[in-house]
């Protein structure tokens, strides 16, 4: 603990010095940075029961410092999870220290990085190292990377690294190569653009003795090819990935003598003009989960993930619309004949339309509508237990996993009033998505009204209801938010599982809090109950247990 305090003093001091120097002599370079702290006090709760874990008080803290001098860049990120990480963050994070560091030299044509770096090839379907603190994800790479841009039309990247894993790095090594080629000028396209990309990602990891010579190699190769076209109103893209033969690992255990290839296909097209837009995406994933350590497959902390496989559904923003969230089902898993999973196939369509000002449906300010429909099913296939072999159809739709229809209507009525209406219909196959029993059919309606009291003050009221005859039955919810100034706001919110068959589980998940923001600094305080379940950002989810307590969030940049 003391170590931490000294460290922070030292850092604050060095920032101070750097700043002073900067004022005296401009050419000493600049230091910038950011700090984020999430502090939680978990208390016992009569409805949820006693807090049964160690340490009622916990915090996650991140300090990032970057230094730049001409073409040179360097930085560190110090992370402190003290005395323990927040609930359901990886136990590997229970420490304080320098989590990432880097040095980089960058010119217009070339960029060389040593240390930790974030990277994405194409859409991330083959490789993505990224950070998301609310999800506890930091899949950055530690090693070396060179980016070279011989001309405006060609960008090349080569990298060798191990992936961050807690305060350590993965066993497995990652080799990566990426190229992006802009064909627009080469083809003399005037009003449209065309680009192509090719990537290679290799993962090399020792094979445990008992699984050696069972049909897969230490090095697993994956290749991606993609093409994107963008015209004035029409655009489309296609990406295909193949992944070499590798052992199937379920719930962090090898399945003996079961070795399969993987592949992914992503097709997207859309059309848009002023006031109207439509977009359709189709994706097929077969055995596409890819980890920097084989035995990380199925880990619940999103660690060692090499590629990015988001659930391609609409990301909702309201509490009750986020109870039944779909997650991509990319893996092969064969626990028993009633639960074979070989991957997923499906798609989604989005439509946006603006009823113009002055028309019957548009009114004085126009009316904006957004529709989304999504359908996802398991890949159709068969598994032979004796031969340890699976037969998977290319375009076969198997068991239905998820479907959804949602509609959003936004309307500004006059200078003071505006409203949002949101409706969602969901089919959620819990058995296949969550490994829980049954299927959930639900409808959710949300109404939101914003009333401006003055040019700076406003009140926002939100009412929600979820109807379902399944699982935990009906929910109701509401929020009142008072925006005192553009900087200061308070809210009170509650979701209530009043329909639950078990009376003791008819719980109010209430929260009260406020936030103050000034410049790049934001301070937020919250007290209340957190619903247990999935917390999802960008289609990636983290399971959190329910809890009650006081939360303080501080973020700032300098």
């Amino acid at each position: 603990m003391k170590k931490l305090l000294y460290l922070s003093f030292a850092l604050a001091f060095s920032v101070g010095i750097a700043q002073e120097d900067e004022e005296k002599k401009k050419d000493w370079g600049t230091v910038t940075g950011g700090f984020e702290s999430n502090i939680q006090w978990y208390n016992d709760d009569t409805s949820l029961g006693k807090f049964a874990e160690d340490e009622h008080f916990r915090s996650n803290n991140y300090l990032k410092l970057d230094y730049n001098y001409g073409n040179w860049f360097a930085g560190i990120q110090v992370e402190s999870y003290a005395p323990m990480p927040l609930l359901n963050y990886s136990p590997k994070l229970d420490d304080t220290g320098i989590a990432t560091f880097y040095a980089m030299y960058k010119t217009r044509k070339i960029e060389v990085t040593a240390g930790y770096f974030y990277e994405q090839f194409g859409s991330g379907l083959i490789l993505r190292g990224w950070e998301n603190r609310p999800l506890g994800i930091n899949n950055s790479f530690r090693g070396a990377r060179v980016k070279y841009q011989p001309s405006d039309a060609i960008a090349l990247t080569g990298m060798y690294a191990r992936q961050r894993d807690g305060f350590e790095v993965s066993e497995g090594e990652i080799f990566g190569f990426n190229s992006e080629i802009d064909l627009t000028n080469a083809l003399n396209l005037e009003t449209s653009s065309l680009s192509a990309g090719f990537s290679y990602v290799g993962r090399k990891e020792d094979i445990p003795e008992q699984f050696q010579n069972t049909g897969f190699d230490e090095l697993t190769n994956a290749f991606s090819a993609r093409l994107d076209y963008s015209g004035e109103t029409f655009y489309s893209g296609i990406e295909y990935i193949t992944k070499g033969k590798d052992a199937i690992v379920n719930s962090q255990r090898f399945i003996e003598n079961f070795v399969e290839k993987g592949s992914a296909l992503l097709v997207n097209f859309g059309y848009s003009q002023k006031g109207f837009g439509i977009d359709a995406t189709v994706r097929r994933l077969e055995n596409m989960n890819f980890f920097s350590e084989r035995e990380a497959a199925g880990n619940v902390f999103n660690e060692n993930i090499v590629n990015y496989l988001p659930g391609l559904t609409k990301q909702h923003d309201y509490a009750l619309t986020n109870i039944y969230v779909y997650q991509a089902q990319a893996a092969i898993s064969v626990p028993d004949p009633s639960l074979f999973k070989f991957g997923e196939i499906g798609g989604q369509i989005d439509m946006f339309y603006n009823f113009k000002k002055g028309t019957a449906l548009g009114g004085k300010y126009g009316t904006k509508i957004a529709l989304n429909a999504a359908y996802w099913a398991g890949l159709k296939g068969d598994f032979d237990f004796t031969e340890r072999d699976s037969e998977i159809d290319f375009f076969g739709f198997g068991r239905k996993y998820f479907s959804e229809f949602s509609m959003e209507i936004r309307k500004k009525w006059d200078k003071k009033w505006q409203s949002i209406f949101y409706f969602v219909n969901q089919y959620y196959n819990q058995r296949f998505i969550n490994d829980e029993r049954g299927v959930v059919n639900s409808n959710v309606a949300v109404g939101e009204v914003i009333y401006k009291l003055s040019s700076r003050q406003s009140v926002r009221i939100e009412l929600q209801h979820l109807w379902t005859p399944d699982d935990d039955k009906n929910w109701a919810g509401g929020t009142v938010e008072f925006n005192v100034t553009p900087r200061l706001s308070f809210y009170i919110t509650d979701i209530y599982n009043y329909g639950n068959d078990i009376e003791d589980e008819q719980i109010h998940y209430y929260n009260v809090g406020g936030s103050f923001a000034r410049g790049a600094t934001r301070f937020a305080l919250n007290y209340g109950r957190q619903r247990g379940g999935l917390v999802c950002v960008g289609g990636v989810c983290r399971f959190v247990p329910q809890s009650t307590g006081l939360t303080v969030n501080i973020t700032t940049a300098f």
């Binding site: 305090l5 988001p310 923003d317 946006f352 936004r410 505006q418 406003s458 790049a520």
Partner: protein
């Protein structure tokens, strides 16, 4: 508990002490047609610009950009300001950007920061986040959006436009 509080105090203190970040880091972002553009190309232009970090799934972000869209023409006429909306959507939602902005009829310049490199370099952890630059230098930042905050933003733009 005590030491955590003192760490927080030290950092807040050091934040107030430190000069705020003035430069937009020269990160490469993408245009909607997939071609690359560096932030230097944007910050080398004269005048006042609003850089707004948003995402298609962020309701307050959309509220803010919708609200500004209502008055954007007046803002341009009066101050010659330009709004650059930087979408931080990743592969999951980025395909929604083009139909959404057209469906809404936004007139902003839209850029894409797909792996959040620019967002990270500016130490932005919460969106919506607005940065106002004048002749390429940061003059104002704000996190979050509440109805009416666009008036405060416009006051800043007007003050710097003269």
């Amino acid at each position: 508990m005590k030491s955590i509080m003192s760490i927080v105090a030290v950092f807040l203190f050091c934040t107030i002490q430190a000069n705020a970040q003035k430069e937009i880091p020269n990160i490469t972002v993408k245009k909607l047609n997939g071609t690359s553009v560096t932030m230097d190309e944007i910050t080398s232009e004269k005048g006042v610009k609003i850089i707004s970090f948003w995402a298609t799934w962020c309701v307050p972000c959309i509220n803010e950009l919708d609200a500004i869209n209502e008055v954007y023409e007046d803002w341009i006429d009066e101050t010659d300001v330009e709004l650059i909306a930087i979408a931080t959507d990743d592969a999951r939602t980025k395909k929604r950007i083009k139909p959404l902005i057209n469906g809404k009829g936004w007139e902003y310049k839209i850029l894409l920061d797909e792996n959040q490199d620019l967002q990270r370099a500016l130490n932005i952890t919460v969106i919506p986040h607005v940065v106002v630059i004048k002749d390429g230098k940061i003059v104002w930042r704000h996190t979050g959006y509440q109805p009416g905050a666009e008036n405060q933003l416009y006051d800043v733009v007007k003050k710097n436009a003269n």
